[in-house]
């Protein structure tokens, strides 16, 4: 054996170490598969840990990829909770039976529209799909509907995200259900003609381009507008809540939410976290950190954003965002949206 070189031993050790699941990085803390930005989640989670002493590990990634992982892992999953920025993903997980129902009294304070019918997921914060418009340009007072964005006069003046964006897909689903497939198809075709293949990866960049006057209007989530105004209070942009009035379909909403994994061994702890996130304290934090709408009834949103209830919201249940997602993707692909 004297010809076995010294490098072999560390290698073997490494092999053994790597094969053994003893090298586990999850202690007895709660584990969240998180599809939201760390910067929105971490402050609230830190507050929770400080109050309860319960540690939380965030396993961050893309919502869809994590849901995929949860599904394949089945009973072997480490995840105690699944946090997503899109109701579509949450509902999809519910349909696949990946989540366990929460105690009814726990979710009762949350508006029924923003949680699963069987309480397998619950919304945490809501966002509105709105228009951002340059106040100094010719379009300052002309846009009233998302469908106006297909107007050929907006040629090269429109900003939209690329068609893999979750908020964008959810928005299209709402319009498809509220206004019909044909109208939505025409709308997409019109926008496609207006943007000439030049779309954005980030909502932030759309708001920036509209503020600079390069573009006149864009389709974004409401909080991006206020985030820009925080930095540049004099920026010539404003929010337009589209499709109001008697015949309007209303603004598309989407929620970010959380679900408890069916296979968690720490259901009680997990419910504690959900209770904290849906409590007035947790809800206020969400409202402040990101200017989103709290989903708990009775908690006010940030005063700078249009008050919930002061405008019309499209009457499409959140569960439809999951069920109709494939149909939406088909439509987007059929039109060939960039």
């Amino acid at each position: 054996m004297k010809y076995i070189p010294s490098t072999l031993l560390p290698s073997l050790l490494a092999l053994i170490l790597s094969i053994s699941p003893l090298v586990s990085f999850a202690d007895d803390s709660l584990i969240i598969y998180s599809g939201r930005s760390d910067k929105f989640v971490k402050p609230v989670i830190a507050e929770f840990t400080q109050q309860t002493g319960i540690k939380v590990t965030l396993h961050t990634g893309k919502s869809t990829a994590l849901l995929n992982k949860l599904r394949i892992e089945g009973a072997r999953t480490d995840a105690d909770l699944f946090l997503s920025n899109d109701a579509g993903n949450l509902q999809r997980g519910s349909d696949w039976g990946l989540f366990r129902a929460m105690t009814p009294s726990l979710v009762a304070p949350i508006d029924k529209r923003y949680r699963a019918a069987d309480d397998t997921w619950v919304g945490l914060s809501a966002r509105a799909r709105v228009l951002v418009v340059n106040t100094q340009g010719p379009w300052a007072d002309k846009l009233n509907s998302v469908f106006d964005l297909a107007d050929p006069a907006l040629d090269s003046k429109l900003g939209i995200t690329n068609s893999t964006n979750g908020s964008y897909i959810a928005g299209v689903t709402v319009y498809m259900l509220a206004a019909g497939k044909d109208k939505t198809r025409q709308w997409l075709q019109g926008m496609k003609a207006n943007v000439h293949g030049k779309v954005f990866n980030k909502h932030r960049q759309i708001v920036k381009a509209v503020a600079s006057g390069k573009l006149q209007a864009g389709l974004v989530n409401h909080y991006y507008i206020y985030r820009h105004l925080d930095k540049y209070p004099d920026a010539p942009i404003k929010i337009v809540l589209p499709d109001q009035g008697k015949d309007g379909m209303g603004v598309a909403w989407n929620v970010a939410g959380i679900a408890i994994s069916k296979h968690t061994a720490k259901a009680a702890l997990a419910e504690k976290l959900v209770a904290f996130l849906t409590s007035p304290t947790g809800q206020k934090q969400f409202a402040e950190v990101n200017r989103e709408y709290p989903v708990r009834t009775g908690i006010a949103a940030s005063p700078v954003i249009p008050a919930a209830g002061s405008y019309r919201v499209a009457d499409v249940p959140m569960s439809a965002l999951g069920k109709q997602r494939d149909a939406t993707l088909d439509l987007i692909e059929e039109v060939g949206m960039p």
Partner: protein, 538 residues
């Protein structure tokens, strides 16, 4: 070669040894082919109708995009790699050694970092954007990277070093007598290059291009950041956007067939061209570059360096400085760096060990069977990372659930992904080893194991080190499989870069990218040292 060996040791013993070695090699390759089985199984679930739909709706565009991208990047890499290699191997100029380094440093920057940096720099308030608007006026639209040219630029900058390395090695090994003869006949430098150098360089260029094209076919980072629909991106979107594994598997199968065809063609092309290695060429002093040449050389190399390494490095340093000043570099950050290093070291070591039987078997046997094994070990390189990851995830959970939960799944995926790199370098090193050395050792009474440790392994040390370094570098940069298979809460530097970059936290993405560069430097140095030794003694 094989026949003299057989007659020396006797057919019976040789046969037995080959069987156990062959068994080991077969086992490794079968394990590496596991994800392919998953792909085949899943694509078998597709009905004829679904195949038809895939074919008519997606395939023409994907094929066109992927193939044209591969061709364009190949051209870009040859332009950058061969030109720089020729100057460095054929002229003596001040800073030549530094130039060599500058040409391989881009290997330390992952494609998704390249893509991210260049899109940021080309925004209106980015450095290049400002420069552009300053030079061409406020109204000129900024160049757009979200198209095939942008992706070509990024992937060429990220990949030309492979062509450079192989072309330089071939140039410095090949005899210059042919060139001299041509010159005596009155050929100009350019003519010599076109008619002597380039044809002789063909095998090296082909080998370099093989690596480049395989990187292009399997690239996920750049194409997803720049949203250019290639097979890999489309496969990822099918899986994660629609949860449609079967369509993803169908597309993967086509991609695998495409890549294997390419590999076979490349092998065929290379095997016909083995005439260039003239071992006993005199060591001649390099021609000194004239002053004009020196400035031209540095102008060209400087431009390449600026784009492929200078700008990215400056960007990383500038944002890292902000992170440092803002106290954002905390214990967590060093944890990510530690995780990356640990995974890369273990995966590279395992890959080198696993690759040895395959390479050794082929080196001794050189039969159709061993060649086939060698080809099949490439499967990890041609399957998209996310597909390998999902294949392993499913197989482990279904068959070996006790292995799931730690690092094992990730390490298996990484070894499978980068096994081909280790196999190819070891195969190349072993090809230069004559069996007589081994026979001498055996005839002096050493057992097979002792021969292996004391004779064979020391002689292919350089090839082993190169194999280790290549796997290490790629593992350190690996993103898609790590995203899916990392243990819970276990983040590596690429994963953090990905997360922070998609949240636009540049001051957090930059230090992680910088750490990747710094972490790769020592191993690159090891490889270059080996390289120089080999070329000088050759």
């Amino acid at each position: 070669m094989a026949s003299s060996f057989l007659s020396f040791t006797g057919p019976l013993r040789a046969g037995r040894r080959f069987t156990s070695l062959g068994g080991l090699a077969t086992t490794v390759v079968l394990l590496a082919a596991m994800p392919l089985l998953y792909v085949i199984y899943n694509s078998l679930q597709l009905s004829a109708n679904e195949w038809l739909r895939l074919w008519s709706s997606r395939l023409p565009e994907l094929l066109w995009n992927t193939l044209s991208l591969a061709v364009l990047v190949a051209i870009g890499c040859v332009l950058l790699g061969v030109s720089s290699a020729w100057w460095i191997a054929r002229r003596d100029f001040p800073g030549r050694k530094l130039a060599t380094w500058l040409m391989i440093l881009p290997l330390t920057v992952p494609t998704y970092v390249f893509a991210h940096i260049y899109t940021t720099l080309l925004e209106e308030d980015g450095w290049l954007g400002q420069l552009w608007l300053g030079v061409f006026g406020e109204t000129t639209p900024l160049p757009d990277l979200y198209n095939i040219w942008g992706v070509t630029l990024i992937l060429s900058l990220a990949g030309f070093s492979y062509v450079f390395l192989l072309a330089r090695a071939a140039l410095s090994q090949s005899t210059r007598s042919l060139e001299e003869a041509a010159r005596i006949q009155g050929a100009s430098t350019l003519e010599v290059f076109w008619r002597i150098n380039l044809p002789l360089l063909r095998p090296a260029i082909a080998a370099g291009l093989a690596v480049v094209v395989l990187h292009v076919l399997s690239d996920f980072g750049a194409v997803s950041m720049l949203r250019f629909q290639t097979f890999t991106l489309s496969i990822y979107l099918q899986m994660s956007g629609r949860f449609d594994y079967q369509a993803a598997a169908g597309l993967s199968l086509i991609l695998v067939m495409l890549s294997l065809t390419f590999l076979v063609l490349e092998r065929f092309f290379r095997s016909r061209q083995r005439y260039y290695s003239a071992r006993h060429s005199r060591q001649q002093p390099l021609r000194r570059a004239t002053r004009l040449e020196t400035s031209l050389i540095w102008l060209w190399l400087g431009l390449i360096t600026l784009l492929a390494f200078g700008l990215p490095l400056a960007w990383m340093l500038s944002w890292s400085w902000q992170a440092w000043a803002g106290n954002l570099i905390d214990a967590e950050f060093w944890g990510y760096a530690g995780n990356s290093l640990m995974v890369a070291v273990i995966a590279a070591t395992l890959a080198v060990i696993a690759a040895f039987p395959v390479a050794f078997y082929n080196a001794r046997k050189r039969s159709v069977g061993s060649q086939t094994l060698l080809q099949f070990s490439s499967v990890g390189f041609v399957l998209p990372g996310p597909v390998i990851a999902l294949g392993i995830l499913s197989l482990l959970l279904a068959q070996l659930p006790f292995l799931y939960g730690g690092l094992a799944a990730l390490l298996i995926a990484l070894v499978i992904r980068f096994l081909p790199l280790a196999v190819q370098s070891q195969d190349a090193a072993l090809a230069q080893l004559t069996p007589s050395v081994e026979q001498a050792s055996r005839s002096l009474g050493a057992g097979p194991l002792e021969t292996l440790w004391r004779v064979i392994l020391p002689m292919i040390r350089g090839g082993m080190a190169t194999a280790w370094v290549l796997v290490f570098i790629d593992t350190l940069k690996e993103l898609p499989a790590t995203l899916i298979l990392r243990p819970t809460g276990f983040d590596t530097l690429p994963v953090r870069i990905w997360i922070e970059a998609s949240e636009e936290m540049l001051e957090l993405a930059a230090p992680a990218a910088l750490m990747l560069v710094i972490g790769t430097l020592p191993v690159l140095w090891i490889m270059m040292k080996n390289h120089t030794v080999k070329t000088e003694s050759g």
